[in-house]
């Protein structure tokens, strides 16, 4: 370990080490940042959700976007895997289907950065039977 000789040394060292725990700090208040859930059930994994997820994590990091990428179970859209749910703070969550790395890039560039929705949204009319009952 290199010795810290000045306060600047320490600051530099902290910047380098920051990434070790940013994930933990982010997870303390995820509601303040972009949250992406990747559906990672058997259907998702078979369709390449793992690659999508890894790409998302890397690309968001490259662009220095504060985001938390978590995995979740099957959302029920097995026909359109990999599916991801994108939740930008202050807006409604949006579900995208058939998200390969190319689509993921588009979602980051246009939806997350630009704030405009892109093709591939799975219609959000997916209220569950229970919710319907409650409304009645």
């Amino acid at each position: 370990m290199a010795k810290v000789k000045t306060l600047d040394d320490l600051k530099k060292m902290r910047e380098q080490l920051q990434s070790k725990i940013t994930l933990r700090e982010k997870s303390d208040h995820p509601e303040k940042m972009v949250q992406i859930k990747v559906s990672m059930a058997t259907c998702g994994i078979a369709s390449g959700a793992k690659e999508t997820m890894n790409y998302l994590i890397e690309e968001l990091d490259n662009r220095a976007i504060d985001a938390v990428v978590t995995q979740t179970g099957c959302m029920g859209y097995c026909h359109s895997e990999p599916t991801i749910e994108v939740h930008v703070p202050g807006t409604d969550p949006v579900v995208y289907g058939n998200v390969d790395t190319k689509k993921a890039e588009e979602i980051i560039a246009k939806h997350i950065v630009g704030g405009e929705l892109v093709d591939g949204i799975i219609p959000a009319s997916y209220k569950t039977a229970n919710e319907d009952d409650n409304e009645k």
Binding site: K3, K5, D28, V69
Partner: protein
């Protein structure tokens, strides 16, 4: 540097380790490598999460899933379900005791909602054995800031303005203590960290040292700069092996990093820390006894003044602060006095760590803002009383504190309020009692502890406490008379007024406060020869109801002293002379035929 998608934090505090926490870490690592996920998943052993009742705790990052009571066998499932398939392992989630709903995120649990973690900020968050993670959390930046940008007086001013008071029990303003030590002229001064946590049921200092040792080292160095000393000593009891081990690692790492040792941050300031082990005597938490013990003398207090600030270790000016006090320092320097003093009450700023123990649902370590009420602590955070029983009293401040009751539940907790109501903050132990606890026996229990721990130097404490104990013993046997009660109170007050150190000055508190708050219970013992809570063995008898007993013979078979007689299908009888009142028969009886009278 490897970048992980997911961190798995496993509690590595003494409590969770005792429940196979180490095996859980090993098994998780194994399961991660079985799934070839080493490059994506990091398993981290952290300090205490505080929710010891539900330990061992495993927390998943980034989705913040909080798994409770995990066993080593669960490791495989956590990886294959949660990590690989994205499904939470529901049987390991916390269930809200009230609405029976499962809560995945710790932030939504009643236990955590009202907490503000300042002293415990890194406990359960970083790996205490890795200085890199501490640095990433702004570690040692407060020391750097103080050394390069401030004079000692400026730094002391921040601590004074923050309103921080000693967390070990006395509540003396920390900044003022530093200032006094700073003003004493001497070339050699010492910084001492008091880690001799002696209150039964208190474990906040241990948890801080186990979970975030660097914060204490950093604060000690800051203190050294402020008072003008370059030697730090941590007095820690040898009964804390894990805390000692982590401290040793932390000191080594800090030296390698250059934040301990010579010429720190190139400013010419030298500071180093040594460990001193105590044998675990309660009196050594008192600062003059502690210093005597560190010098190799008997752990006995000295008359104050002179205070250690003037003449302490080796006769040199010495600043003694408690672990939790130190843990607050770096954050105060980084965030400013105003930030800190915005939390808490008028005279007690910031937060306090409490160790919840006794008949409470959520046993564990909590950090709450000063001014919170006992009701919030016991019922909202602590989850109420075990087995749905009725709350009776809470002992705050350990053996030196007093019992507070139902009528005190809504007073805001701070140093002065607790003293005004006959108790004290102490180091922050909170032992909760329910309707089944006999308050005379509780007072006797604490006296038993102080009699054992009295160093014997002064007569009021050595002899007086022993006499107090004997009188309480007499009361619990039903042999005391009314006069004894007034002698008990009188003697208690004399011991408080005449003892040499804090131990004797506070040891009668449990007796006096229970006498004040539970006078009827004392009277019942003395006048009627009854123990209302049914705890004092000499004052009770087990009786079998002839109507309810069906003569199943279960009780007579389980009785260890053959005190129960009766034929099959006939009502049984207990011979009260032979009976040792163990209660085994009552536990065994399926017909509720046995009662205490």
């Amino acid at each position: 540097m490897a970048k992980y998608n997911s961190h798995i934090l496993v509690c590595g505090g003494t409590g969770c380790r005792a429940s196979q926490g180490e095996e859980i870490v090993e098994n998780l690592k194994q399961a991660v490598s079985d799934n070839s996920l080493e490059s994506e998943i990091q398993v981290v052993r952290t300090g205490c999460f505080g929710f010891c009742e539900k330990g061992p705790i495993v927390k998943m990052i980034p989705d913040n899933t909080f798994y409770t009571q995990v066993t080593p066998e669960d490791a495989g499932e956590i990886i294959s379900e949660h990590i690989v398939k994205g499904r939470k392992v529901e049987r390991l989630l916390y269930t809200d005791p009230e609405n029976k709903e499962q809560i995945a995120d710790s932030k939504d649990m009643g236990f955590y909602k009202k907490q503000i973690r300042i002293a415990l900020r890194n406990c359960g968050f970083i790996n205490p054995e890795n200085v890199d993670e501490y640095v990433a959390r702004d570690g040692y930046s407060a020391l750097g800031k103080v050394l390069t940008e401030m004079t000692p007086e400026e730094a002391i001013k921040i601590i004074k303005e923050s309103g921080l008071r000693g967390r070990g029990g006395g509540g003396f303003p920390t900044g003022l203590k530093w200032e006094i030590t700073n003003q004493v002229e001497n070339e050699e001064k010492y910084v001492v960290c008091n880690a001799d946590e002696g209150d039964p049921g208190a474990f906040m200092d241990r948890s801080i040292l186990e979970g975030d040792p660097h914060s204490v080292l950093e604060a000690m160095a800051i203190c050294g700069y402020c008072i003008g000393g370059s030697h730090g000593l941590i007095y820690i009891r040898a009964e804390y092996p894990l805390a000692i081990e982590r401290l040793k690692i932390a000191i080594e790492q800090a030296r390698n990093l250059g934040v301990l040792g010579k010429n720190i941050f190139g400013t010419g300031f030298d500071f180093d820390v040594e460990l001193r082990y105590g044998a675990g005597a309660f009196v050594c938490g008192e600062e003059t006894s502690l210093i005597n013990s560190m010098e190799g003398l008997r752990g006995e207090p000295n008359v104050k003044p002179p205070f250690p600030s003037v003449s302490g270790y080796k006769g040199k000016p010495t600043n003694v602060n408690n672990v939790e006090t130190f843990a607050n320092i770096p954050v105060i320097i980084n965030n400013g006095a105003e930030w800190f003093s915005a939390i808490g009450t008028e005279k007690s700023k910031g937060t306090k760590v409490f160790a919840l123990a006794g008949k409470i649902n959520n046993v564990g370590l909590i950090e709450v803002p000063m001014g919170i009420t006992l009701r919030e602590v016991i019922f909202d955070i602590g989850g109420g009383i075990k087995d749905g029983k009725k709350f009776k009293a809470v002992q705050t401040g350990g053996p030196s504190g007093g019992c507070l009751t139902e009528k005190h539940l809504d007073i805001p907790i701070d140093y002065d309020n607790l003293i005004a109501h006959g108790s004290m903050m102490g180091s922050g132990g909170m032992i909760v009692m329910d309707e089944d606890d006999c308050m005379v026996s509780v007072a006797k229990f604490y006296l038993d502890f102080t009699v054992e721990e009295s160093c014997g130097k002064c007569a009021p404490c050595r002899v007086g406490n022993k006499r107090l104990y004997e009188m309480l013993d007499k009361i619990t046997q039903g042999k005391a008379n009314k006069e004894d009660l007034s002698i008990l109170r009188n003697l208690g007050n004399v011991i408080k007024d005449t003892s040499l150190c804090g131990l004797g000055q506070t040891s009668p508190n449990p007796v006096l406060s229970t006498m004040d708050n539970f006078a009827d219970e004392y009277e019942a013992h003395v006048k009627d020869g009854k123990c209302p809570a049914g705890q004092c063995k000499d004052l009770m008898e087990y009786v079998i109801s002839a109507e309810t007993c069906v003569g199943c013979t279960l009780c007579s078979r389980v009785c260890p002293v053959d005190a129960i007689s009766g034929d099959k299908k006939q009502a049984h009888v207990i011979d009260t002379v032979t009976c040792i009142k163990c209660g085994a028969c009552m536990e065994k009886c399926k017909f509720n035929a046995i009662s205490i009278q």
